[in-house]
């Protein structure tokens, strides 16, 4: 039990000669709080799934020399998407399902579940339908199930992606308590902002799909830097004419209010950056503007209420670049995606010559016949941005457009957007947790926290 977890000679790939993870030698002490940190696509999630025994069972190839001294039966996992990890309808039933699987006798089941739910503080949620729980409550329920299972190693794959600050703090505290009780906690995350209080050991994953353990000082420096709020040099939104105006705007998820704002406005034909802790509701706000989630209050575009637009008209007014690139595609190959946007798109910038140049700028040349779903994460992201820019809607909403892009690609994307703006400016809102390179490119900076949108230019002055 006290032997550390060692991972040796691991090479994992989905396609031949394209490893998504290469680890020569990595040690994770038992009873530690370990953070696998790196950009999306760097292999940290793959490592978690290898440890859980889900890979290579669910696809991919692991080299024969690989040695991991951790049995999958010792682990249980919390997944990134809180609603895709339960088979049953309530936390109580899910816990029963899990303990039935472990062949626990039903007389022991009851108190094991009761204790675990009490530990995580979700006893009052035991019989609630998952559909009525917030993301944070679901993740805590998932943790309770794992605790009831008495698994010594708890794996978490970006568990905070849709959690509000309160639930995140609760979950982190409970994980710390589990570590104090002797369990091993391993989390994969691309964002360090939440972890300063926990002082985890950090294993850094890079784009070459390799991992190195950071010395304590370096880890400390990273954590401290991540905790600092960054304000970019911007101008106040209200100094420009507004395109989108919200009054008494209220936005909710089940049992959680995300936004309650008396007045807000988005300047016309400018680039507005929208930041906020993960789970604060940034994506939901974009979806609300795309009319994909309901809202209360009043919301107007160029003085006309959103309610008055029919779906078809609205699609011509507002483009939402989804966080998950594949959601955007409607066809099979890249050539077909481009052809559709050429046929339907209205952005005057994209003359044939400019389009070819843009494809080249984004490094997508020669991929025309590739299946879009088989492109790398970065290529999908860039293609997604290109086909949406070509549509030329007056309002463009970008949800984490730089996630999974290297610095050069992100720069190319910004360059292309700037070029488009020069020909036909659009009102652009960018949600991004990565701020590198955004100074001077964005015009305004709104920050969402505690259900309020703050204009950081006004806060500063």
């Amino acid at each position: 039990m006290t032997d550390p977890i060692t991972i040796q000679n691991v090479i994992f790939s989905y396609q031949a000669h394209q490893p998504v993870l290469q680890l020569a030698d990595l040690t994770i002490p038992r009873g530690s709080f370990t953070l696998l940190y790196g950009p999306s696509g760097s292999g940290k999630s793959t490592l978690l799934r290898l440890l859980a025994g889900l890979l290579p069972k669910y696809g991919g190839h692991l080299n024969a020399q690989a040695a991991i001294n951790l049995a999958p039966q010792e682990t249980a996992m919390l997944f990134q998407d809180p609603s895709l990890q339960f088979a049953l309808d309530t936390p109580q039933h899910e816990a029963e399902f899990a303990l039935e699987n472990l062949q626990v006798h039903r007389h022991q089941m009851r108190h094991r579940i009761r204790d675990a739910f009490a530990t995580v503080g979700i006893s009052d949620l035991a019989d609630r339908q998952f559909a009525t729980l917030s993301g944070g409550e679901k993740q805590r329920a998932a943790l309770a199930v794992v605790i009831a299972m008495h698994r010594p190693v708890i794996l978490l794959d970006e568990p905070f992606a849709s959690l509000d600050a309160k639930n995140r703090a609760l979950l982190l505290a409970q994980l710390q308590a589990q570590v104090a009780a002797g369990k091993t906690v391993i989390i994969a995350d691309h964002d360090l902002a939440n972890y300063q209080a926990v002082q985890p050991q950090i294993i850094r994953f890079d784009r070459a799909h390799q991992a190195t353990q950071l010395p304590e000082a370096a880890a400390q420096a990273l954590l401290t830097a991540a905790a600092q709020p960054i304000a970019l040099p911007t101008q106040a939104a209200r100094t420009w004419p507004a395109a989108i105006v919200g009054r008494k705007l209220v936005l909710e998820r089940p049992h959680q209010r995300l936004l309650d704002q008396a007045n807000c406005q988005i300047p016309a034909n400018k680039i507005t950056l929208l930041t906020g802790e993960s789970g604060s509701g940034k994506s939901t706000l974009l979806k609300c503007l795309a009319k994909l989630v309901p809202y209360q209050g009043e919301l107007t575009l160029q003085g006309r209420s959103l309610q008055k637009y029919r779906p078809r008209q609205w699609g011509r007014q507002v483009g939402l670049v989804f966080q998950h690139a594949a959601d955007q595609f409607l066809n099979v190959t890249m050539a077909e995606e481009l052809a559709l946007s050429q046929a339907q798109g209205r952005h005057p910038y994209f003359t044939p010559a400019n389009l070819t140049a843009a494809i080249d700028l984004l490094g997508l040349t020669g991929l025309a016949d590739r299946v879009v779903y088989s492109l790398s994460g970065g290529q999908q992201k860039k293609l997604q941005l290109l086909v949406m820019l070509m549509m030329g809607q007056p309002v463009l909403l970008l949800d984490e457009p730089f996630a999974g892009l290297d610095a050069a690609s992100a720069q190319a994307v910004r360059q292309l957007i700037t070029a488009c703006q020069a020909v036909q400016p659009a009102t652009i809102i960018v949600v991004s947790h990565q701020l590198a390179g955004l100074a001077g490119w964005v015009d305004c900076h709104l920050h969402l926290s505690h259900q309020q949108l703050q204009d950081l230019a006004e806060v500063r002055s």
Partner: protein, 186 residues
């Protein structure tokens, strides 16, 4: 059959049935529309026949996706089992129609010896689905009492519906999935 189906296949089959149900319901009660239009001219039951193809799509789709014996039946039947608790008003009666439609669509692939996940298999599935569901309605929905002429019209309507949705549309979807390398070429 149970050894050939893993947990993820079963979830996928049930999901396909439910998704097709959701899309159907989102299509705004086409059945009711047809029914109200056609009943005054004596062709009311045709609403059932014209929409039958939509109801039976999950079966052939599942077969084209998983390409193994039982897929069409399970896709249709598990979907119906799901809708029993979701769709509401038809309750357990859903299971019976799901069973009949499942057998009907499966048979087409069975007689082609589970080797034709292509035009032939789909055409055969369409053919059997038309005949068997029609035979079922002969008893259950009183088609036996209609005139021969009306029955012929209904049979043709049903075949067209099956052909369009379970044949052409499923093939078009399968082509997309094939080109996206989700399923291997036939």
């Amino acid at each position: 059959m149970s050894t050939r189906y893993h947990l993820k296949d079963i979830i996928l089959l049930a999901l396909i049935g439910i998704i097709f149900g959701v899309i159907y319901y989102a299509g705004d009660f086409i059945y009711n529309g047809f029914s109200i239009l056609l009943t005054p001219v004596g062709l009311g039951p045709m609403a059932n026949d014209l929409t039958m193809g939509l109801w039976c799509m999950a079966g052939p789709m599942a077969a084209m996706l998983l390409r193994r014996p039982g897929a069409a039946f399970l896709g249709e039947f598990l979907g119906a089992a799901g809708e029993m608790f979701l769709g509401g008003q038809w309750g357990a009666a859903n299971l019976i129609s799901g069973f009949v439609q499942g057998v009907a669509t499966e048979l087409g692939f069975a007689v082609t010896r589970y080797k034709h996940y292509d035009w032939l298999g789909l055409a055969s599935s369409t053919f059997f689905a038309t005949l068997i569901t029609f035979g079922w309605d002969w008893f259950r929905n009183g088609y036996a009492h209609f005139s021969l002429g009306l029955n012929l019209i209904l049979l043709v309507a049903r075949f067209i519906s099956m052909f369009v949705f379970c044949g052409v549309l499923v093939k078009l979807i399968a082509n997309l999935l094939e080109r996206a390398h989700v399923i291997k070429p036939a």
